[in-house]
Amino acid sequence: MTKVLVIAEVEAGKVKKTTLSAITLARQAGSSFSILAIGGAGTGAAAAELTGYGAEAVLVTEDASLENYVAEQYAPTVIAAAQGFDLVVATASSFGKDLIPRVAAALDASYAGDVAGAAREGDKLVFKRPIFAGNAFGYVTLGTPVQTATARQSEFEPAEPSGGSSPVSAFAKVAPGAAASRVEFVSLDAVKSERPELTDASVIVSGGRALKEKFFEVLEPLADTLGAAIGASRAACDAGYAPGDFQVGQTGKIVAPKLYFAIGISGAIQHIAGMKSSKTIVAINKDPDAPIFQLADYGLVADLFTAVPELVSALKAHRG
């Protein structure tokens, strides 16, 4: 019997889709699960959409002080809600990766971060984790009475509703401790985009340092044509050609779209770790020896500044 508590990710009164990957993990790992939706105004209304996934209960903590995510404000309530559960999970977004280990410490629980799988082996719950930049998988069991984990979003399909209607109840906010009085939320500078989110896109167009200042000029028409999200290599982000949160890689976003374009990306280990689970990979690079070609299903050795516009025209022609 493993009772799981899923921490939903709520932002601006909406449940983020990341939550559905954590529900999938809970279904695989647990005998039953409940969901805690915690956030500011509108969280209760948003939580209504979580009642159709087979949870034993949906707990709602809605409080004006939780409008913006700050770990020290959220953690005490999550820790209290976790009482009686064997496993606490969230998705390994920047929210889950920040919050869950903090909660784990309060529960004296070990933590399996960014897991790619969860399964029962005999009476043990086994987590499969990518380690060494995805160059190995380790299988781990946690020996603490309470366990915690985060799900790598690209490895857990978003849960489908299973019918039924989970009961919803309020869970009172727990007053935060001393830590909360010494941290102040200042701002969230969100990049507004009409494009799909990187971790959620079925097509991604990523660019490397070779694009220089023409990063967006070259990639946007291609992304528009394909309805794709735009990603970047670490080198492109470090050089300032793309914002930091565009980074795909071991230490950036881990993605696994149906179709991934690596444009002017050489294929450093750290980048490959973030995209090698993509279904089909296309690489365009003028260096025929670039390591990315060893991974790409289709490689085109060409100058990207001519090849990409040509590709945009050809795709438009193909679509008629």
């Binding site: 920047s94 909660v103 629980a109 060494f132 190995a136 830590a179 010494r182 941290v183 102040e184």
Partner: protein, 274 residues
């Protein structure tokens, strides 16, 4: 400001594709030991926060580095001392006997003894890729934390304005010390970190600084204390048991296409990706 920096050595991350997962371990034979890159960034951040960028030979505060590992890991500590840290602490343990929970418990005892204003850590170590110790340590200490920090500015009153790289943008927090910060890649960019001693217009060189030869000689004389894990984390053991490893499935080699037309054709008909 007194800063504690936690560092760990890892098998050369630039050659991580050469590790060999076997049934019972990940074999890193042949790979050089290197400091975890994010921990190098944490050390660079600590140095920037304890100096005037224009005169970086003078420490305005103290930087203490700590690692948990066997005797060989003193190499990485000496290297940190040569780069500018003042003192080092090694907690004796074998890496295979540790997990994030145990490391955080041991570090808590180090913090209790050292009482730093700030603890800096890399956001994750690139072998275990766990990304948990900073968060756990913050909870154990009841300290505020800012994970995935890309920018840190020390304000006139000593508070720290931290820009965190989160999904979809930058989230800024203002921390009152003592606090925990875990650093991300871009914290070592030229204008990412400012102590209150450094002029706003000052630009660092990109990346981390390197030790000069005389500093390497001097570092051999800097204090390095050794402590026992059992004294720092009494009664705690490793709660994570790795019992099997495997290599990820290999990707079949692809093909090179001669031109854009062939590429679109193959994507449409062969991969059915369009």
């Amino acid at each position: 400001m007194k800063i504690l920096v936690a560092i760990k050595r890892v098998a050369d991350p630039d050659n991580a594709n050469k590790v060999k997962p076997t049934a019972d371990k990940v074999d890193t034979t042949g790979l050089e030991w290197k400091p975890n890159p994010f921990d190098e960034y944490a050390l660079e951040t600590a140095l920037r926060l304890t100096e005037n960028g224009k005169n970086n030979k003078v420490r305005q505060g103290e930087v203490v580095v700590v690692t948990i590992g066997n005797k060989d890991t003193e190499t990485q500590l000496r290297s940190a001392l040569a780069t500018g840290a003042d003192r080092a602490i090694r907690v004796e343990a074998e890496d295979t006997d540790l997990d994030g929970r145990l490391v955080a418990a041991a570090l808590k005892s180090v913090v209790d003894a050292e009482k730093p204003d700030l603890v800096l850590l890399g956001k994750q170590v690139v072998d275990g890729d766990s990304n948990s110790v900073g968060q756990m340590l913050a909870q154990l200490l009841d300290y505020p934390m800012a994970t995935f920090a890309a920018t840190i500015q020390e304000e006139a009153d000593g508070r720290l304005l931290v820009g965190r790289e989160v999904d979809g943008g930058v989230l800024s927090l203002r921390l009152t010390t003592p606090a925990i910060i875990t650093v991300d890649l871009r914290v070592v960019a030229p204008t990412s970190v400012y102590s209150k001693h450094t002029d706003a217009g000052f630009k660092y060189s990109d990346g981390v600084r390197f030790a000069a030869l005389p500093a390497i000689m001097k570092a051999k004389k800097k204090p390095l204390d050794v402590k026992a894990l059992a004294d720092l984390a009494p009664g705690k053991t490793n709660g994570s048991s790795y019992f099997r490893f495997e290599a990820p499935p290999a990707r079949a080699a692809g093909v090179k296409v001669p031109d854009v037309a062939t590429l679109v054709n193959k994507l449409a008909t062969e991969a059915k990706a369009l």
